[in-house]
């Protein structure tokens, strides 16, 4: 404390402390800034990859959904039993609704997906023969199953709130569709 009585020494001491403080701080700032920059860049890349992945999954989901709609439409044409037609109809309605939900999310998320409700039907699927219906139903079942798989994957990979809402909303309905498809298959197998 004795030295602090000397004004010159005190001023010099404070000046040196300030200079050291500023130097350390600026160095620290630079280091932090560099780290921050790297982290930002990393986060950016991660966000882009996440977006790409989401877009990819949504596109797959959308394509599958269109396939489901097409198949149920075709099945309604070839199946004679009303109760089964109704089931197919319900599956179609569920997936049309799902397509609309997908479109809504995709628009918001800046993802391009096929706008299937407006698209013409794929003739190769629509013109089913009686013999093809089991194949078509099995295909339907596997596509719906795949949709559930994609939904599951999406729920694991995406952190988006919109996606989470969509998945929660769609999951039970698509499960329901799967069950309905299985029912149709059972009924048809029993009748044959």
């Amino acid at each position: 404390m004795k030295y602090f009585k000397n004004r010159k020494i005190t001023v010099l001491f404070i000046f040196i402390v300030i200079m050291i403080g500023i130097s350390f701080n600026s160095c620290d700032e630079l280091i932090k800034s560099k780290k921050l920059e790297n982290k930002k860049s990393e986060l950016k890349t991660q966000a882009i990859n996440e977006n790409k992945n989401e877009a990819k999954l949504l596109l797959m989901l959308s394509k599958d959904n269109q396939e489901v709609i097409n198949l149920t439409k075709a099945l309604q044409e070839v199946i004679n039993k009303d109760s089964i037609v109704d089931l197919a109809k319900k599956i179609e309605e569920t997936h049309v609704q799902f397509a609309e939900d997908l479109q809504e999310v995709a628009t918001d998320k800046l993802i391009s997906i096929p706008n299937y409700p407006e698209a013409p039907l794929n003739k190769s699927i629509v013109n089913l023969t009686e013999e093809d219906k089991f194949k078509a139903l099995n295909k339907l079942k596997s596509i719906i199953d795949n949709q559930l798989f994609i939904l599951n994957k999406l729920s694991k990979t995406s952190n988006s709130k919109d996606f989470k809402t969509l998945i929660v909303k769609a999951d039970s309905k698509i499960n329901d569709s799967l069950n309905k498809t299985k029912n149709i298959l059972n009924v048809l197998n029993t009748n044959s």
């Binding site: 000046f15 500023i22 600026s26 950016k44 966000a47 882009i48 990859n49 977006n51 790409k52 989401e54 877009a55 990819k56 596109l59 628009t107 918001d108 998320k109 800046l110 993802i111 391009s112 997906i113 096929p114 706008n115 407006e118 698209a119 013409p120 794929n122 003739k123």
Partner: protein, 594 residues
């Protein structure tokens, strides 16, 4: 000098602070500029990336369109590959854009619009080739679909171009900001560095001047130090300092010499110093040093020191406290060798005592002699008077003549003795000063001389005097002597006229006053119209028994004016005389105003 240096130090300190501040500002601005430049660069890169991704989207669409046309023409599904993978590629670009435009809502809105158009366009592709009748590209529905697709494609292109234009404008703006930053930064930095350089030059210049001045001052100080050393040796004194806080002494070289030692031959401590002090004075000096430490002052102290060769020296010391720049109290002291003065003083004292003794003896002799001389003289005069009364007729003419001469001699002897007694009294008298009315003293003097004045018809005129602090009977005597003198030395056939004036004068304006002790004096002037005298005798007339005329011409003893001088001196005044033969004399008396 010290003030100038102090001002310069303040100036240098200010310059240092300003320079430090400027450097800090330069640093901060540089940091800021570099950050700004980096930001500008990042923004430019960002704009380029957005543009590239948009161009990529357009390119993918074009590929899809080309592929579709190829498929329509060739029916080869290979051509559909760009269309099938196009959407995924577009989505990848969108994924990038989404991150790039995270904070730009306008751009995001535009991109959503573009996305919607792309969806429509891709749907149009699908509709178009699915609705195509086999090989019939002339089908109106197909053509309609194809045209719709083209319109959508144009719309997408326009939108993307719009966004790119917007981005380019933004890029232009950013580049201009970036360039202005790049332009302004060096200019600013250069200006600041220039300021800093100017400040540094000014500071350097000031330091250089200060050093030169300090050097000159140091040389002067060296000379002064040497001359102080010399003067210490010549005047036999030494100096010392005592730092109260640190309890430390420093002694000058000559202080060691005063102790009979070589300069700096022992550590300057009070204990070492006391070993040289006379044993009888050690206790007293120790006590005085203790008091000095307590009071931070040292009054004049006297003590003796004993040199190694046995010489005893008398020293006198004095100390005064000062506060130095570091806020420390320092006692500055001087010690002088007063042995010679002490010896001289003792001799002087002895001589004074002897002189006083002689003076006393002389005075008493004078008094006694004068007094005792009166007795035989009285007897001479008495018996002479009886002789005349009883034997006057019996004496021869020669006898009578001798008796006359004896009588005259006796009378003169009496006068001489009276004057001597008076002179002796003026020496001896108790000097009691009183506030006196000088007018009354003058009147009393006139009364004393009434007979003579009346006999000679003398005319005396005088001013009115103020009261003056004097020894009254002496001043009266002064007046009697001076007036009597004027009447005695009157001009034959002329009525004696004496004029006495008074005025108050300043000592420095009077040539007659030499080495005055007071600033103002009463000036009393006695002017007569008597026989006067030659000015060369102006001083001689005040000398005891001094006479300008022989006793046959003018009676007198030559003591009167000596008494006047003595009286004036008793009053610490001055008396002067001036005269002109046959015209008159002027006596001037100066009495101090205390």
């Amino acid at each position: 000098m010290i003030k100038t240096l102090s001002n310069n130090i303040s100036f240098l300190r200010t310059t240092l602070y300003i320079s430090a501040f400027v450097i800090l500002v330069v640093g901060a601005l540089t940091y800021r500029s570099i950050t700004e430049v980096t930001k500008s660069s990042e923004l430019i890169t960002h704009t380029y990336k957005v543009n590239v991704e948009l161009e990529q989207i357009l390119s993918n669409l074009k590929d899809a369109e080309t592929g579709q046309r190829g498929y329509i023409i060739t029916k080869d599904s290979v051509f559909l590959e760009p269309y099938i993978s196009g959407r995924s590629k577009i989505n990848n670009s969108f994924a990038e854009l989404k991150v790039l435009t995270k904070d730009d809502t306008i751009l995001k809105e535009s991109l959503i619009k573009v996305n919607s158009l792309i969806n429509k366009r891709l749907l149009a592709f699908q509709t178009s080739y699915r609705s195509l009748p086999k090989g019939d590209i002339e089908d109106p529905n197909f053509i309609e679909n194809f045209r719709n697709g083209r319109a959508l494609m144009d719309s997408i292109r326009d939108n993307i171009k719009g966004i790119i234009k917007l981005q380019n404008n933004l890029l232009k703006q950013r580049r201009s900001e970036y360039e202005s930053d790049l332009m302004a930064t060096p200019l600013l930095l250069f200006s600041l560095l220039l300021c800093s350089l100017i400040l540094m030059y000014v500071a350097y210049n000031s330091i250089y001047k200060n050093i030169k001045r300090l050097k000159a001052t140091n040389e002067e100080l060296e000379i002064f130090k040497e001359s102080t050393n010399q003067s210490e040796i010549v005047s036999k004194h030494g100096s010392w300092t005592y730092n109260v806080k640190r309890d430390e002494f420093t002694y000058s070289d000559n202080l060691y010499r005063l102790l009979g030692e070589q300069p700096q031959s022992f550590k300057p401590t009070i204990e070492n110093f006391l070993t040289y002090v006379h044993p009888d004075d050690v206790e007293k000096l120790t006590m005085q040093v203790e008091q000095m430490k307590e009071n931070i002052e040292l009054p004049y102290i006297y003590y003796r020191v004993v040199h190694k060769n046995g010489n005893i020296k008398h020293l006198k010391a004095y100390g005064k406290s000062v506060v130095n720049e570091d806020d420390e109290t320092v006692l500055l002291g001087t010690t002088a060798d007063i042995t010679d003065e002490i010896i001289s003083f003792r001799i002087l004292e002895e001589r004074n005592a002897e002189l006083e003794r002689n003076n006393k003896e002389l005075s008493s002799f004078n008094y006694v002699a004068s007094h005792d001389l009166q007795e035989p003289l009285r007897k001479i005069q008495t018996f002479l008077s009886r002789l005349i009364d009883e034997e006057e007729g019996k004496l021869s003419a020669k006898g009578n003549k001798y008796i006359d001469r004896i009588q005259n001699a006796a009378t003169r002897m009496r006068l001489l003795i009276d004057d001597l007694l008076q002179f002796s009294r003026s020496n001896k008298a108790d000097k009691v000063f009183e506030e006196s009315n000088i007018n009354l003293l003058l009147e009393a003097a006139k009364q004393d001389l009434a007979e003579v004045i009346s006999a000679e018809n003398a005319v005396i005129t005088s001013d009115t005097f103020p009261t003056i602090t004097v020894i009254p009977f002496q001043i009266q005597q002064l007046f009697v002597n001076l007036i009597g003198n004027a009447i005695k030395y009157r001009m034959e056939g002329k009525i004696p006229k004496i004029n006495i004036t008074h005025q108050i004068v300043e000592a420095e304006n009077e040539d007659n006053i030499i080495k005055p002790k007071y600033s103002h004096y009463h000036k009393i002037t006695f002017t007569d119209n008597g026989i006067g005298f030659d000015n060369q005798y102006a001083d001689q007339i005040f000398v005891l028994f001094s006479r300008l005329h022989n006793k046959d011409q003018y009676s007198g003893t030559g003591i009167g004016l000596s008494i006047c001088k003595k009286i004036v001196e008793n009053h610490k005044g001055y008396i002067t005389a001036s005269g002109q033969p046959e015209k008159g004399a002027v006596f001037t008396v100066y009495l101090p105003i205390a």
